[in-house]
């Protein structure tokens, strides 16, 4: 069936990440990946199954349950000439490694007056509604975003995931990448079978529109796109902008979109308070105040520890309906 070969190739979000890692490991022997059960098990999420067959246990490395230990080891290895990727499984475990990430990796280049570099990638996950309860469901990307010296990647599509991950591996700075757990299998999309990178710090307009800008990150891009469809049906044209990285941050693309539409909602899956939406809403109103029709609005995860019960957990994450209702109200339609 030769037609199939020319059809657009679709991968899941998880497959795109695996391909990015495999390509970078083929390209550069200094790249290794370590974490708990990453080798034969291919991670808890089974995203890397098969990689160990190609690269061996010397490069896909099972570690003890020592997230701080192997992240610190990754920092030193990065300084000494390697390009390690460390995998901490659940993003909630960031709390255990924060000293190594934010006091060490983030500051070494600066503290050494620019002499040492830390080309380290830290893989973390994010996302609720897996019924994993309060310690396995958080989206903590706001924390590293607050720390100068780190770069933070929050891809939303398979295409972006591959290009951004490859860029992260080639970075000479520590990068934390947040992979959305539910998206691993659920989100599919076109991913070219070739070597491309997406530079960190370039936002992407996922959908053009004229009435309102929905700035959304990671999982919330799908929610925003869903809401945009619903809005279209009531005659509202929503633009969906995905910053793709929280740092560096492509302020210009965000601000220009809002200047055009005059309305803005920022949507993120992290805790609502003192997080991503605060920063983005704040800078939008700073830079586009006089173009705004009304205040920039925000939707984040409810400010509660994430509950286990489905009846409770589901209401903690922003939904298409919520975005739709708010956008509609803002557009007076």
């Amino acid at each position: 069936m030769p037609e199939l070969a020319t059809a657009v190739r679709e991968l899941t979000f998880g497959e795109a990440i695996k391909e990015a890692i495999a390509e970078e490991m083929r390209r550069d022997p200094r790249v290794v990946l370590m974490g708990e059960d990453v080798a034969e098990a291919g991670t808890t999420f089974k995203v890397l199954v098969g990689l160990v067959d190609e690269f061996g246990k010397e490069r896909i490395i099972d570690t003890p349950i020592s997230e701080a230990g192997f992240t610190g080891l990754g920092v030193g290895a990065a300084m000494a000439g390697m390009r390690p990727i460390v995998d901490i499984m659940f993003g909630d475990f960031l709390m255990i490694i924060m000293d190594q990430v934010a006091n060490q990796a983030a500051k070494i280049h600066y503290m050494s007056g620019g002499k040492w570099k830390v080309p380290l990638v830290i893989r973390a996950t994010m996302g609720a509604t897996r019924r994993s309860a309060a310690q396995h469901s958080q989206s903590l990307h706001a924390w590293p975003s607050h720390i100068p010296g780190l770069k933070v990647v929050v891809p939303s599509t398979p295409y972006d995931a591959k290009g951004l991950f490859k860029a992260a591996v080639r970075e000479d700075n520590p990068v934390v990448i947040f992979e959305h757990k539910i998206s691993y299998r659920k989100v599919k999309g076109h991913v070219p079978d070739e070597d491309y990178i997406i530079p960190l710090g370039v936002a992407d307009v996922k959908r053009e529109g004229t009435d309102i800008t929905l700035i959304a990150l990671s999982s919330m891009v799908q929610v925003a796109l869903g809401a945009a469809k619903m809005l279209e049906e009531v005659g509202i044209s929503a633009e969906v902008v995905d910053p793709r990285t929280t740092w560096p941050l492509d302020e210009k693309t965000l601000v220009e979109s809002v200047k055009k539409t005059s309305r803005c909602i920022v949507i993120d899956e992290g805790y609502f308070r003192y997080g991503i939406t605060g920063e983005l809403a704040s800078l939008i109103q700073e830079q586009a105040f006089f173009d705004l029709d009304g205040p920039v609005r925000r939707l984040g995860a409810m400010h509660v520890p994430i509950p286990f019960s489905p009846s409770l957990e589901d209401v903690t994450v922003p939904s298409e309906r919520q975005v739709f209702d708010l956008a509609r109200q803002m557009c007076n339609k």
Partner: protein, 330 residues
């Protein structure tokens, strides 16, 4: 390995010997139903079954008082039950129901119950080592004579926090018992791939009393635990106990195809040769403590109780979504 228990098992009173059996069977039956609920897609999320390891929770908790403390792990159902939790409220919690121990907010990995001294299961490997040590500290400071037990898998030996707590506990002579349930695997990795040196040497590092014993022999677990718990209660300091054991099922209920990380033969060996319930049942019969009929009755009663508990939970309502932002602050 300790021989204290095996040498003088008869020191354990008959009703206790029977209770050890009953409690193990209760956990086994509970967990089988959890697996079943999962398979029937009635349980949200996942659960980590304790089947195969029952002798440890039971042997240790039967040596504790109700007002003693425990902290538990992701694989925590056995500890909670052994410490006295009710199956119905536990099933309700596992299904995310309002009637559950935590009103459905905690789920499988966070069952907690002040009434039985259960400070809570914990989804962070090693994450409860400080909590248990702190409860022991409070007991000492408040001049109570409560002991705290910190259950953890051998995988937690990878977490630095554990060593900080071992040091603090020993330095301050706190009444805390660190119970290492060594089932040989950290998820899908054999513990020898993650653990340098001897496990017991990790306690020696802090000059802490320690003992390694057979986790499939409930009488031995009970005897060893009793010894160190009473020692701690008297103010003579903490201890580190390693029990060798095995989990029969997967790391969690969804871990079905396991051949890539451990041989089927190994599983079979433990299940058929080293099952703590079979072994203890046989011992009870061999030593004339109970006959098959008595044991069968124990099981039958528990089956009825567990089935009723499941039914209660299944028929119980979910919490109203409006409850989501209650209980954030006291």
């Amino acid at each position: 390995m300790s021989t204290a228990a095996t040498k003088s098992p008869s020191k354990i009173p008959t009703d206790k010997l029977l209770r050890l059996y009953k409690q193990m069977v209760a956990i086994r039956l509970f967990e089988e139903r959890v697996n079943d609920l999962y398979t029937r897609a009635l349980m949200p999320g996942l659960a980590h079954l304790y089947i195969g390891e029952e002798a440890i929770a039971v042997g240790v908790c039967e040596a504790l008082r109700t007002d003693d403390y425990i902290t538990s792990t992701h694989r925590g159902h056995g500890h909670c039950l052994a410490k006295g939790a009710s199956p119905d409220l536990m099933f309700a919690e596992l299904l995310g129901k309002e009637a559950g121990y935590c009103k459905g907010k905690g789920g499988s990995m966070h069952i907690a119950d002040p009434a039985t001294g259960n400070l809570g299961a914990n989804a962070i490997v090693g994450g409860s080592a400080g909590i248990a040590t702190g409860a022991a500290y409070a007991s000492k400071y408040l001049k109570q004579d409560r002991v705290a037990v910190c259950f953890f898998g051998e995988g937690a030996l990878g977490q630095g926090l554990l060593y900080e707590e071992l040091n603090l506990a020993q330095l301050w002579k706190l009444p805390v018992i660190f119970v290492c349930e060594n089932n040989g695997y950290n998820e899908y990795t054999h513990f020898s791939e993650s653990t340098a040196g001897d496990v017991s040497a990790r306690a020696d590092a802090f000059g802490m009393a320690n003992e390694t014993a057979d986790g499939q022999n409930v009488r031995e677990v009970f005897a060893v635990a009793s010894k160190y718990i009473e020692r701690a209660r008297k103010g003579e300091g903490p201890a580190f106990l390693q029990f060798k054991t095995y989990r029969y099922h997967g790391h969690h209920v969804g871990d079905i195809a396991r051949a890539y990380y451990r041989p089927k033969a190994e599983e079979q060996e433990w299940v058929t040769q080293r099952d703590p319930i079979t072994l203890h049942g046989q011992w009870l019969m061999d030593n004339g403590v109970a006959d098959r009929a008595v044991l069968d009755k124990v099981q039958a009663d528990l089956i009825a109780e567990m089935d009723a508990a499941v039914e209660f939970a299944v028929n119980s309502p979910y919490p109203d979504p409006s409850k989501v932002d209650q209980d954030i602050y006291a």
